[in-house]
């Protein structure tokens, strides 16, 4: 029996090859090259036809997943004859670092966490916005986010526009623990809760609430003594920690099945998607003020236009579109996460169920008992302390 190109394969595969008529093709070099040439031809044709279908303007949008939802972007593309490509970020510092490394020449517009948008000002990456150009947009905003919105300003100039927000505080399962227990972060350090605490490993997110609990305001410059207090509180926290997670689903699963009593360093961003699936026993709360310091933290996502964009007008139009009522409604209720938005007009289209998912009856309580998240002057030292204490705890 002559040897074929497939005779070394198991009988089963040989039968499949014969059944599909591929045995007659014979995989020789000439046929392979012919096939490759054919494939290349098809690719060129496909490229040509795609080019014919291309929009008048190409843009690049660096953003969190969700901002790229077709329901938000497609209407804008259609109305402006644009084609937007996305550079999805998985963490804000990483996105900022990428922009600094040269991506600012490619990207037109960015939606990221507010401190990193604000940092784009002094880094010379973001275009300064004129609030007067956004009067129509701000008219629909909650007063708290209207200009002059100091956390998004650099040297008195507006760097970006706030889009979504939420609060950082203990995430709990009310079937397992009572919200009253979490009026302070003491439960994190209670020996009875050893191996029941989850810490969200999201950069500064777990560090800042712990600093506040220790009586340190991390948003002010810290001296050595205060940094040492942060070190001690982190050290104590690691003693009771069951797991540090970087992935939302792991924390959500632990809260749902009760293997985790509480998760810190997260908040409404974590709980809302679970609430959307009907688990209203999972909620994000904010502890009561302690030592004169509000213990919650309000996080805000914002959108800024890049200084080097070749489409400044279109980019600003996209920014206005992202915070518009229709887009904001979609942005508030994504599959991966649900969060309140800065556009007050969206309230009129929320159903009572949607408001419940977003804990809207609680949001201003959370806001009033929280610090506004901004650039913490000593965050690098605190992150270094985090690494040191984590290494020491192992």
């Amino acid at each position: 029996m002559s040897k074929t190109w497939y005779s070394d394969l198991p009988q089963y595969y040989q039968r499949q090859i014969r059944a599909m008529g591929l045995d007659e093709a014979g995989l020789n070099r000439r046929r392979l090259l012919k096939g490759m040439a054919g494939a290349a031809g098809v690719a060129v044709l496909a490229r040509m036809s795609a080019r014919q279908a291309q929009a008048a303007t190409q843009m690049t949008y660096m953003c969190w997943e969700g901002y790229n939802d077709p329901r938000i972007i497609d209407p804008f593309n259609k109305a402006n004859d644009t084609e937007i490509s996305f550079d999805l970020i998985v963490d804000s510092p990483g996105g900022f670092a990428k922009l600094q490394a040269g991506a600012s020449r490619e990207v037109d517009i960015v939606s990221s966490d507010m401190p990193w948008i604000t940092r784009m000002g002094p880094a010379g990456l973001a275009m300064e916005l004129n609030p007067d150009d956004y009067k129509d947009v701000y008219a629909d905003f909650y007063d708290q986010f209207k200009p002059p919105f100091e956390p998004l300003m650099n040297d008195g100039k507006t760097i970006g526009v706030a889009t979504r927000w939420g609060w950082v505080g203990p995430c709990i399962n009310t079937d397992v623990t009572k919200p009253e227990v979490w009026k302070t972060y003491d439960a994190v350090f209670d020996p009875a809760n050893k191996d029941k605490i989850c810490v969200m490993d999201w950069g500064d997110w777990p560090i800042l609430p712990m600093a506040l609990h220790a009586g340190i305001n991390p948003y002010e410059p810290l001296d050595e003594k205060q940094l040492n207090e942060v070190r001690l509180v982190l050290r104590a926290m690691f003693k009771n920690t069951r797991t540090l997670v970087g992935d939302l689903t792991q924390a959500q699963k632990g809260l749902l099945d009760g293997s985790l009593l509480g998760c810190i360093g997260a908040g409404s961003y974590l709980t809302s998607a679970v609430r959307k699936q009907g688990h209203k026993n999972i909620m994000a709360i904010v502890p009561e003020p302690k030592n004169g310091l509000k213990q919650g933290i309000i996080w805000v996502e914002a959108t800024a236009v890049l200084k080097e964009t070749d489409q400044p007008e279109l980019s600003q139009n996209l920014l206005k579109h992202v915070v518009s009522k229709d887009a904001a409604h979609i942005l508030a209720l994504l599959d991966s996460t649900c969060n309140v938005v800065t556009n007050k007009a969206v309230e009129s289209v929320f159903t009572p169920e949607e408001k419940d998912i977003l804990q809207m009856d609680y949001m201003w309580h959370a806001y009033d008992n929280s610090q506004m998240h901004r650039i913490a002057p000593n965050i690098d030292e605190m992150l270094a302390i985090w690494q040191e204490e984590l290494a020491a705890a192992q």
Partner: protein, 288 residues
Amino acid sequence: MDMEVSRSWRDPELWVKALPSVILQTTCFLAPLVMTFVLTFQKTQNFQLNWTWNLATWTDVFSKPHYWTILGHTLVMAVACVAVCIVIALPIAYGLATRFKRLDSEIKVLITFAFITDATLKTFGWVLFLDKKGAANYLLMQMGFPPETVAFLFTDWATLLGMVYNLLPFAIFTIYLSIDNIDRSLILAAYDAGAGKFRAFWEVTLPLSRPGIWAGSVLIFLLGVGVFLEPKVLGGGKSPMSAELIRQTFETRVNWPLGAALTLVLMAVAIFVVLLFSRVAGMRKAGQ
């Protein structure tokens, strides 16, 4: 007629032949490595890279013990992973290459599947299995065991389990290929000389499969020092390993010089360990 092959570096033909490889290595490996090295002498200020030459990063690396604690932990885990993988892979590979020879092609396909299955998926699967409320504890409870019998998720043991699980195919495959290439007549000769099965394995098969064991060990060790998924997902992030430290330094702290320095330290130490093992293995071989 035998042509004399010129082995001189002055041979232009040799240069022409080596040129594509030299260009590829220079642009894809050497240049980024040099850039990484250069980066370590810069500094970051306010999360921005400042091109000012200094030794601050290296001073930081050599003065902070926690970097070395994490590196030591990484090396221990990688070596443990190599040891466990080899112990498990050796009998499996031996069985596959000898007892299940008829299923040769199917086995190769299965091993290939193990390579192409996403490690993230496999690792998260273990969380569902090992969790306090996971499948393992549920099954054990059904069998009458007390609740939470399996309680090693989010420990170093779970990290090691994940590493072994994800890297084992590399060891099986390399050892399998090595055993498969052994001339069967050598083993038969051992039997003819009166050796039993164990002795034939110990004195013929095992020494001849050393290249596969060595290749698998190096591969697993180098992959093992670079794991970040297993310590994060199965280890609960409480015992970070070097890759996670480097990721945090680059991404969260946006401290590229420090991240670059830690990367180089990890590379240097990993290469040193491999060279050390190779030297020890070479000395043992020479002594035999």
